[in-house]
């Protein structure tokens, strides 16, 4: 079975400081990994994904994530946080299938607050 864990319900960071939102996964096989952001009363927006290749993936709004197979982690990072980055962040996983039609498995979400 596939699962994703986001160990922190809440992350607080000062504006201008680097931020990290943690994600670990448990799958049998090589995973496809995704990060999403959700602003209040909106749907989830896709930020970035890891499929294969370079372990450091760059995405929208200056975010990046590092795939670490030995630690089964895919942490989301940004070098300098903005107040506008304050939102709910979701990590998700899918194991490759021939059809690729299975839904993503989402973590419970981490609320990021960037303080001015």
């Amino acid at each position: 079975a596939q699962s994703v864990a986001q160990p922190e319900d809440q992350v607080n960071v000062a504006e201008g400081n680097p931020l990290t939102v943690k994600c670990t996964y448990s799958v049998s096989g090589n995973p496809y990994l995704f990060w999403y952001v959700q602003y209040p009363n909106r749907g989830l927006q896709f930020l970035l994904k890891y499929i294969t290749g370079d372990n450091l993936v760059k995405g929208s709004y200056g975010f990046e994530a590092e795939f670490n197979k030995s630690q089964t982690s895919f942490h989301l990072k940004k070098p300098s946080a903005l107040v506008s980055d304050s939102a709910l962040y979701f990590c998700a996983v899918r194991v490759p299938f021939l059809s690729g039609n299975t839904p993503l498995v989402f973590g419970k979400g981490t609320r990021l607050s960037v303080i001015a």
């Binding site: 496809y32 999403y36 909106r42 749907g43 896709f46 994904k49 490759p96 059809s99 839904p103």
Partner: protein, 115 residues
């Protein structure tokens, strides 16, 4: 480009009333379609997903049902709403196939309040 529309954006319904939420996708063909519920701004609960017209997979037992009458239309329904059906309902789509390396794309949701 592809777009996804959900309506209504907000809905207030009495207990025991019926429900119909609609989701449509434009700019793509044969998408996978999904319904999620999100409670209190936290995690997502997958309710239904569909890989084609008339093909619905139900993930959790509940008094909700889903239908896909057209390729790009996905409807969430209930005959009699319960208080526990309150929440934020999100529709999503993804490209079918390609080994699963495509993200899901979400609509802006419907906030449902049951009184």
């Amino acid at each position: 480009s592809q777009t996804i529309h959900q309506w209504p954006a907000t809905l207030v319904q009495p207990v025991g009333s019926p429900l119909s939420l609609e989701c449509t996708v434009e700019g793509t063909s044969n998408p996978n379609l999904y319904w999620y519920r999100q409670a209190a701004g936290r995690g997502l609960q997958l309710l239904f997903y569909s890989v084609g017209i008339g093909q619905i997979s139900s993930e959790v037992p509940q008094n909700l049902s889903a239908s896909r009458p057209q390729d790009r239309q996905f409807i969430l329904s209930s005959k009699k709403l319960l208080l526990s059906d309150s929440g934020f309902y999100l529709c999503a789509w993804s490209i079918r196939g390609r080994g699963g390396n495509q993200p899901q794309h979400f609509g802006d949701g419907t906030r449902l309040s049951i009184l």
